[in-house]
Each structure stands twice: as C-alpha cells, then as structure tokens.
Symmetry: C2
Subunit: 274 residues, 2 copies
DNA sequence: CAGTGGTCTAGACCACACT
DNA sequence: GTGTGGTCTAGACCACTGC
C-alpha cells in the first residue's frame, strides 16, 4: 500500500488507477493546489453528495454498502463510514442496521412532516388528526422582486404561487402562501395539489425530483389583515404567528419560499435548543 | 489482552483491577442483568457525564486527554473518542485541537447567548448592540401550581421570580418573567442580577453551579395585556411573540421556566430546520 | 520539542434483517 | 447463512498549540 494516506501531500499525480483492482473505481485522492487541506472523509462526503444531486440514487433508494463504496473510492471502510455518519446526521441519508443505508425522503420518513413544528397544546388535544387542506389558488406569475431575490431568481422569472388553508376539525388554523421557481416546477397545478395526499415535499420529490434538505425560518407575531382574518375566521388585528420559511435543496439552492400564518390559541410552535 | 471486548457477555466478575497498571482505574466494563445491552462508548459517555454532574470538572475546565481517560476507563482511545464526540455535539464539551477538551460554558462560549434566537431584521440593523437590561423585580414566593409542576416541584416549594425588560437603543423590546427553584438559587437577589453583566446563564454557573444544557420552547402569538403593553410601550392588543422556555441542567432536570414577550416589528425569532 | 486532538487504516467480532 | 450496519481495538501518522 503506497497511497491512501491521512494527509494531502503525496497522492495525486500518479495512481489515478491502481495496478490491482479492475475498472469501476473513482480515485478519491483529489488534488488541492496547496493549502486547501480537507480530510479524506470530507472529500468522500462530497462525492456521495454529488451522486445524490445527480440522482444516481433516488429518495428511498438504498445506496451501496460501506464496503462497496470504500472499494469504489479506494479508501478504507472506516473513512466511508465517517462520511456517511455526517450525511446521516444531516438527514440526507438514513442508516438501517442489517438492511443498508438509504436516501432520506419526505415520503415515508418515519416521522413525517419533518419541517412542521406546530403542535397542538397539551391542554387541547383536539385538532390532532391530519389537517384538512383546501387549495385556494395556484397560479403562475412574474414574481415580486423580494420573492425573486430570496429564491435567487431574476425579477422577471416565472414563479408558481400557491395559497392554501389548513383546518383541524373544521376550524381553519393555518394560511400558507408558497412561492416556487417556475422552471423546476413546470406542470404544478391546482389539480396536482388537490388530488395529492401526504406531505407536499414528498410530492415535490416524486413529481419534480426536488428534495428539500434544510430550511431557515423567521418567526414574528403579526396582526391579521382583512384577507387573513377572513380566511382564518378571526377579527382583523387578531395576533397570528408569521412563519417565513426558505427551504433549500442540495447544495444550498433555495427552492421554496413559504409564508405561514398560524392561529395559536390552541397550538404552538415547538422548538428544541441545544 | 483478555477483556475489553465489543459485546457485553464476557467481562465483569473478574478483573475489577488488572494485574498490570496501578491504581486510579475505574473499570468501565459494567454489569447489565441480561438484555440491557448498551455499547461501551455509551457507558463511557455516562461516566463522563456523571463526572460533569458531580463537578469533577467545572465549566471552562480542561478534562483529561483521550488517552488518560482511556486508561482510566480501561478502554481504547477510539472508544473514548466516540463518547466525547457525542458529548461535544450535545454541546456539553468543546474540543480544541492542540489544546484539549473543555467543559462547555455559557461564559465565553465563542458564540455567547446560545439560547437567544431573536435577531434584528436585516432591514433594521438598529438595535444590534447589547441590550440594556432593567430588572423590574426579584422576589421569592410559593409558586403557582402550573409553574411548580413544570419545574418538578411540589406546590408549596419556594420559588424565585424575576421580571425584567430588555431594550435596544432605548426602546423596550422584550419582557421576561423567569421562575427558578428556590433551593439551588438561594441568595439570588435583585442586586446580584443588576450588578452582573454578561449572560444570565453564565452567572448561574459561577454563582450557583447550575449549568443549563438544553431547553425546549413553545412559541405563540398573543395580544399584549395591560401589563405588558405598559412595560413594552405598545397598545393593549398589540401582537407579541410569546416564548415559553423550559431549561434543563444535566440529567434532564428542569431548572428554569422563562416566559418572554417579544416585540417583533424589527426583530424575528430565527430557526434552522434540518 | 512534547502534548493534544484529528485522520486513516486493518481486522475482528456483534447485532440485526432477510431469505 | 449471508449481507448489512454497529462496535471495538491497536497502531500509525498528521495538524495545531504552546513551551
């Protein structure tokens, strides 16, 4: 063994394909000009990520075993393991002992609705069951500048806007406005949305190949305007929780801007601080 | 080497102190009745945690090196490493390459105010600097039943209640009510609080030996009542963000209940979803 | 320089799931 | 049984810090 060493110096110009071990390997030993040191397992992590983005393995798929990946990248199993470990804590992969490692998905992700942080108060277990969803509109437009900016689009680019109301036991509780970039979501329509059950992000995966990976939220307390008041059945001025979410796919590409208004009389936004 | 094996079966009755290697070891190979399997590194993690709780190492202290701990617990360095890794991602320990591993602290924790999630809006960089703090009151009382319940206290137990207002550039923005169990916080007074600068949780560490480790928050939008309106300089009914926090020390013992009311006209609660 | 955490490897064995 | 992830070890070497 002359390569696969801890540090960056010695491997790169030679051995893009070792003597033994036939085709199908990918030579993870990468080239950094000089001071751009990054540990091997980080490079492996990037390579796996690239495969995820490229769609080599789709949400729900099992990825190759640690040993297979180790052979493919020409590193030890432990190094692959550390890379996968990080991808798993980032919720991009899911490990299942005895079975394999799988690409995470919003569809059957054990705890569904991973990004939904609103829970019924303990004192009011009403409004538990699944929400009733009513799509109010779904239209294409040239988006407002501010929305376009946050989605990394140009002012004139096409957008899809969706507005919907979620109700629990018949009482409206959540009003959401959703903006999506028009190009990746070509074909999204009111019918698509209405006929679908299950998490919207699962639909995005299966219908548009867009997997939401992380999101940031800005939360405020606001007074209901006439519009919101009517749709949520409260008076104008009623305090509502405003949750503005920017959701990202792989590679920190923003793919959705969502603004939710929540009635919080019998519900709260739950958060864990570590 | 006859012991220190991956699984639980073979080690325990013999070798509570090996032939070689003199005093000071702690025999981590523990005894589980039968089916209570837990990996070695988890047991090590528990042992380290116990030392943290017992105050063997105080916030800011450096803990023994991985090799020292490995010797002490009679396991390999890699196993200690994995235990420390988890404690570090839980923010109980902080690793510093070349220096050592340290007990986390709210005092100089690089990013201070770890639990404060309220940020000024990008559009309003006013109100950036440190908040001006005004303690309104600090008194002892037999707490309300609901508060006592959440702090795992009996109805009649003594509590400390603190009320304070935080302002930015002179405008009040945050009203906080804080309840603490009376016994661990014996001696906490308005003077103690007023004279202190820096994070309150840092003061709790140095003065009372209580380190807050994690917290849960329940967030709602509420209307300002007369009290809050007066203190925050808004009209009654003005929407405010209500953040109810339960903070825990080691071992999931609740040690603080805090209810904050935030004006969010130029501020928001920021959250990252993974 | 010595001491600490960080990376990498190689090999052994265990726990779990499927067939 | 076979294949997968999970744990543990032992040893080598790198990177950073501070004396």
């Amino acid at each position: 063994m002359a390569s696969a060493h801890p540090s960056q110096p010695d491997l790169s110009p030679e051995d893009p394909r070792a003597p033994a071990d036939a085709a199908g390997t990918e030579s993870a030993a990468l080239l950094q000009p000089t001071p751009a040191f990054s540990p091997l397992y980080q490079q492996i992590k990037s390579l796996i990520l690239r495969s995820l983005q490229a769609g080599e393995w789709k949400p729900g798929d099992m990825i190759p075993s640690e040993f297979d990946l180790a052979a493919r990248f020409r590193v030890s199993q432990g190094t692959v393991r550390k890379a996968i470990d990080e991808l798993a804590t980032d919720n991009l992969l899911v490990r299942r002992q005895g079975k394999g490692t799988f690409v995470a998905t919003h569809a059957e992700q054990h705890i569904q609705y991973r990004f939904l942080r609103v829970l019924p108060d303990a004192s009011a277990p009403e409004a538990q069951g699944p929400a009733e969803r009513r799509i109010i509109e779904c239209r294409r437009l040239r988006g407002p500048a501010e929305v376009a900016r946050q989605l990394d689009l140009k002012g004139g680019d096409s957008l899809v806007q969706v507005r919907r109301v979620l109700s629990f036991s018949g009482t409206p509780a959540i009003l959401e406005d959703i903006w999506l970039p028009g190009t990746p979501f070509k074909g999204l329509s009111l019918e698509t949305l209405s006929s679908d059950k299950g998490p919207m992000y699962a639909l995005f995966e299966t219908q548009f190949g867009v997997r939401m990976v992380r999101a940031t939220e800005k939360i405020k307390a606001v007074a209901a305007d006439a519009d919101a008041a009517a749709l949520l059945g409260v008076e104008v001025g009623h305090p509502l929780l405003s949750v503005e979410r920017l959701a990202y796919t792989y590679n920190d590409v923003p793919m959705e801007l969502r603004r939710g208004l929540y009635r919080t009389e019998t519900r709260h936004y739950h958060n864990e601080l570590n």
